[in-house]
Symmetry: C2
Subunit: 351 residues, 2 copies
């Protein structure tokens, strides 16, 4: 019944070698008190017979699960945010190198807390990554209570000094993008933002507002849209703005997906990006939505969400290995890259 390859027990394997389980365990675990000769012998034999320690037993004995929990939150419409694939790919890469595994759950809108609790409660994971922080978020308190280390992707809104997080400078990015558009001479800049409940969207709007203020321009709430970041939503928002009484001359949008939707609305009306209207978008560098090339299609603020996944994973593992360190906080600046979607007013449209 043991059947198959490499399913031996430590006991069986050590008997085979004429050693005790203790010594074999130590040899494989890299403990110093094992003689070089013995260690070699054990390592060779392990490879030969395909012995690999049973992970469940290891976990029980050591009290560490060597697993990190991720919870993928669905939004109100059960949408899966497309950035997850790339973020997870980045994180998983790091976990694989370091021998951790990734446990993924999904949480429907109401169930987020229960889902996280189920993960952490039974010590199924050594740490947790919090996705999609919202304004009122109970999760940090939950994990503090459970004594499970966590890193937030993004930032909560209140006091975050005691938490570990990795975020991009959303406010700075959108301030910079807005200032850029102002400098191009635009006076009516529309903001097509992500869902209002999300912290990053709030910060982006702050950046937009402060840059307008800086430029002495008024904020018109009719120019601000906040909704899911999909192509059709971007399209609809742009349609409403373009067909309104005073169409904007520039768009600042929160994702490539949304930008594509806005783009469609423009083309449909015979308008060309970079000639008739300007557009700047944020670009998460999703692998299936490349905005690449020497001169990218869209002018953008850019930050790789896959790189963020890698870094977040490293932070988590550092927190696990050194429990009593101060919180880790990374605030990443974005790249600003001029592409083909701007230059309308200044007439210096590239290409």
């Amino acid at each position: 019944m043991k059947g198959g390859l490499g399913l031996v027990t430590l006991k069986e394997f050590s008997d085979l070698l004429g050693l005790s389980p203790t010594t074999v365990s130590r040899a494989l675990g890299g403990y110093p008190e094992v003689s070089a000769k013995t260690r070699d012998r054990v390592e060779v034999a392990a490879r030969t017979y395909g012995y690999r320690p049973n992970m469940q037993a290891q976990r029980l004995a050591t009290g560490r699960s060597m697993a990190i929990g991720h919870v993928l939150p669905l939004d109100r419409d059960e949408m899966v945010n497309p950035i997850f694939g790339d973020f997870l790919a980045g994180a998983a890469e790091v976990y694989a190198q370091r021998g951790y595994e990734m446990v993924l759950s999904i949480a429907k809108p109401g169930e987020a807390e229960a889902t996280y609790r189920a993960l952490a409660d039974r010590r199924r994971v050594d740490a947790v990554l919090l996705h999609g922080p919202e304004r009122e978020d109970l999760r940090p308190a939950l994990f503090d209570a459970l004594n499970v280390p966590f890193v937030v992707h993004g930032r909560m809104l209140g006091d975050t000094t005691a938490q570990s997080w990795l975020d991009i400078d959303n406010e700075g990015a959108f301030a910079q993008a807005t200032a850029f558009l102002c400098a191009q001479g635009h006076r009516r800049i529309a903001l097509i933002n992500g869902p209002a409940a999300q912290g990053f969207a709030y910060r982006r709007e702050q950046g937009y507002r402060s840059a307008l203020a800086q430029a002495g321009l008024p904020v018109e709430t009719s120019l601000i849209h906040a909704d899911q970041m999909t192509e059709p939503k971007g399209y609809l928002a742009a349609v409403r703005l373009l067909d309104g009484p005073q169409p904007p001359s520039a768009f600042l949008v929160s994702s490539i997906m949304t930008a594509m939707g806005a783009d469609r609305a423009l083309r449909e009306r015979g308008l060309t990006l970079g000639l008739d209207v300007d557009l700047v978008t944020h670009d998460d560098v999703l692998s299936f939505l490349p905005n690449s090339g020497e001169v990218p299609q869209y002018t953008c603020t850019r930050s790789s969400v896959r790189a963020a996944g890698q870094r977040a994973a490293e932070m988590l593992m550092s927190l696990i290995e050194t429990p009593d360190q101060p919180p880790l906080q990374d605030l990443w600046q974005v790249e600003f890259i001029e592409g083909l979607s701007t230059g309308a007013l200044s007439g210096r449209s590239p290409g």
Copy 2:
């Protein structure tokens, strides 16, 4: 050190109740030999004190890990296929209901086998889902040898009678779509397909070819493109075809993403879908790429990849619970839905 909430041991918890660990375990496990009175008492106390069995110990004792492995394969360019998010969301939903957890790994092109082996070898998972079957795929043999149940999302190319899989009828879908375009009067239909190495792309091309044959039309290899299913690739393929000597009058494409790229090329050339050129695409019903509405933007063959994730998860759990059953094989028919992107030649463009 036990600190926190709900981290009691079975022993501690049963002592508290004046019962033996055995009885408590049985009460919580739903065994019939426990009296109703006792069971109630135990259940109430468990809720009160927040007792939950330690999962690692449970796994070791039962020999089941209550986990399913998924491996997300990256393609040659390390691209994450965007369908994964929705597929995983569907699967995770089922796992959550049934108390399973999902373990996710990623595999770079060369490392797929090692990644899978690492998952199955140490019995970290009870079953595995195989994503992205390729022409020469060693994974089924590997898992048969390891005696780990698996379900393939898609189908291998050779003899698949002994495997469990869930696939859509790619050949039928693309034959139907091609026949539809032929019936509209098209004689030059381009195929913008997914990567040639993927089984589904092969089958789609077969469907396309057979429908052309049926209609008495020749297959022109210059009309067939196969590449990653991204917007820019779709754009480039369409550009090449449209700017070539004999542009096609219709496009059959493998994903909404690609369709959007082709669409962009068309608009750029002043052509309108459904008026000047027809297009049919496959639609995986990705949550962030909606092609919805009474009359969807694109005419499509449609099948929800999220539903596929759910069904695949159910199949896996059935295989775990009933090990010696014959292979499970689901071949799903797609929906064919007329949208705004066809009707050019017949002049009956909707809307």
